[in-house]
């Protein structure tokens, strides 16, 4: 593998605002009185509940078991009693089933998994089972079950493992701090995943705006046989397909997966979760989240347990200076706007971001002026302007012909559009309508 860095086509350079939190060490959040754990935290089938109201659980005990292969189990974030199995606001705005746990204050571990300190001599199959049992999902944002990515179907060979430490979303610094403070765990996780895939090595891709993280990783990389590669700073560098191109020069064809070009990509936080699951025998019950925004009193990076309400998380950072305009889960480019402070932290909550009033404006969208800026920045080389017109006219068949399904919803087009057209929203709509149509045909 050459160390040559390639720049993918398109992309944008939004103000990254990472300075707010990039020098803040990761802090452990204090134990709360109760946690509301959202049941369905992964892409794929929802898990099946195994506890009932009134049950006493220990930290790390199973709350729900996997509901299929593309599904992961869910574990208790602390010890306590199951108070209620009810609905709470979900990240998409709809109320979703959740499990409320009243903490007993002991925070006592239950029967965690047996640590596999001798992972180098453990069967890769056992390691993979552990990844599944620990309920690990892609922690970069999508929440795709990690073990599924580690199970390439027959006939597909994997020759490159890439760890995603690009963290190209503005504001977010959770992965940055993780790579800096737990570089060894990141490298260890990489080595374990490499063993599961039958590979000798792995590449950790980090954007060049995090030189301290690159340095920290390089110090330990040799010990675990992984390499670190700096990447050009360009949003969306952390998108799977763009990352694969930057590191290997391979392009994932439309409608194909990374494994079709012999690559597996995992987020660095997922790698650390995998290292914890294997070496320490710990399930995925917490994650590092950046709580930030101009209006936050003391922005920082926090290790939050699943089910921590956003309201409480904001108390950890001292609340707000001024009334913010918008609350997002995730970064400003791809994060989801929330209408309630009751929404709770999930396995893929990389950031809690408060956008202040001077950063957003109320606008209405104007007609397309055919300037072509969206076409220039689209990292997937599709035609956002034309597709948005197709969608506006409810011509989803036309949108499909124009490859709207290749859209990765990075939001670069919406970001540059001088007419402020809601392009990304149009594409999300088109993708859903096209998928619904496909299901109907089946």
């Amino acid at each position: 593998m050459s160390n040559q860095t390639r720049k993918f086509k398109g992309g944008v350079h939004p103000n990254d605002s990472k300075a707010l939190s990039k020098d803040k060490p990761i802090q452990d959040a204090p134990l709360l009185e109760s946690y509301k754990v959202i049941m369905h935290q992964n892409i794929g089938a929802p898990p099946e509940l195994v506890v009932k109201k009134g049950d006493v659980v220990k930290k790390g005990d199973l709350l729900a078991k996997a509901g299929g292969f593309v599904s992961v189990p869910l574990h208790a974030p602390t010890s306590g009693t199951i108070k209620m199995i009810d609905k709470c606001p979900g990240p998409t705005g709809m109320s979703v089933p959740s499990i409320e746990i009243t903490a007993d204050g002991e925070d006592e571990w239950g029967a965690p998994f047996v640590p596999m300190s001798d992972w180098k001599n453990t069967e890769p199959k056992m390691l993979k089972q552990r990844v599944w049992d620990a309920g690990i999902v892609g922690m970069g944002g999508a929440g795709f079950p990690a073990h599924v990515k580690l199970s390439p179907p027959e006939g597909k060979t994997i020759d490159t493992l890439i760890l995603n430490g690009a963290e190209c979303e503005p504001y977010l610094t959770a992965d940055h701090r993780l790579m800096l403070e737990q570089a060894e765990d990141v490298a260890l996780g990489a080595a374990i995943i490499a063993r599961i895939l039958g590979l000798e090595t792995a590449v950790i891709g980090v954007e060049n705006n995090k030189p301290d993280a690159i340095q920290a990783l390089e110090k330990v990389a040799g010990k675990y046989g992984v390499t670190v590669q700096g990447l050009p700073v360009n949003y969306p560098q952390g998108a799977e397909k763009q990352l694969i191109y930057a590191i290997t020069g391979r392009e994932v064809p439309i409608g194909k997966l990374p494994m079709d070009v012999h690559c597996v990509v995992q987020n660095v936080a997922s790698a650390v979760a995998i290292a914890d699951a294997v070496v320490k025998g710990r399930p995925s019950i917490e994650r590092i989240t950046t709580i930030t925004g101009k209006s936050v009193v003391n922005p920082g990076n926090w290790r939050l347990r699943l089910g921590t309400p956003v309201e409480k998380a904001l108390e950890f950072v001292g609340g707000v200076n001024e009334q913010p305009a918008k609350l997002l889960l995730g970064g400003p480019m791809m994060g989801i706007a929330q209408s309630s402070l009751g929404v709770t932290v999930m396995k893929n909550t990389s950031g809690i971001l408060l956008i202040s009033r001077d950063e957003v404006s109320q606008y209405s969208s104007d007609p397309c002026i055919r300037c072509g800026r969206c076409v220039e920045v689209c990292p997937m080389s599709i035609l956002p302007a034309t597709i948005s017109q197709a969608v506006e006219n409810k011509r989803f068949d036309w949108a499909e012909e124009l490859n709207v399904m290749a859209c990765i919803e990075c939001g670069s087009c919406s970001y540059v559009c001088p007419s402020r057209r809601p392009l990304n929203q149009h594409f999300k709509r088109a993708k859903i309508e096209i998928q619904a149509e496909l299901r109907k045909k089946k």
């Binding site: 609905k87 998409t92 709809m94 706007a337 149009h426 709509r429």
Partner: protein
Amino acid sequence: MNIALIAIVAAGVLGAVLGIIIGIVAKAFAVEVDERVEGVEERLPGANCGGCGFAGCADFAKAVVEGRAQPGGCPVAAPEAVADIAGYLGIAAEEKEKRVALVRCSGDCANTVRSLYNGVRDCRSAVLVAGGAKGCDYGCLGFGSCADACPFGAIEIRDGLAVVHPELCVGCENCVAACPKNLIIMVPATAEVHVYCNSPEKGAAKRKVCKTACIACRKCVKASGEEDHMLVDGFLVKTNYENPPPPELVEASACPTSALRLASKHVAGGYGGASK
């Protein structure tokens, strides 16, 4: 002068020859059309709404003539028109009850908590952004995807709420599939009393987000006495359209949230958005 004459004669002869050829070809390759199809089509409303399940009025007319459909299958045609078509074809017309669309929500802007939204003005797109701008997860979003789908202009968006005008609704059901919240059902046109709420949440949760939600207090169930006019389904009461209640029930049950309404008064804006 001479040239002009030649041109006129040449064009005239050419026209005559081509005309004869076209005439012969038209006769030789004539497509046999059952003239009854045209007769039926003339008697249909010609709205091409697709409510019958066929690809427009011409296709439906063909199906009727071939016996694959009943004249009453057209939801738009008035009973007289259906009888006319049946008489024309010499078949018996089936009696069919007229059904109209009903939007099961009364949460207009005055009644439900709204969050700010300035994305695409279309319900099916709005629902992708935090489930829409309405406080209630189940409520009408009010961007009029149903009104756009209605070829008869029977749906009005009033203060962020879709309201069906039953006298304009022909029952083509185009709106039913357009609603991302599945709020629209088809009800008998004769039924006057409806529950304008579709949230299965608990009463207290509903009241938090909407002033006119059905809280399943069952006053209307009690007021109907022995008759099963109203059916309780979890935390929601529904009208039993098999045995529709008389209009007096609304008055008698004194619904505390005014979720139980008279269709005519609801359409006329008689509830004004305020609950008791």
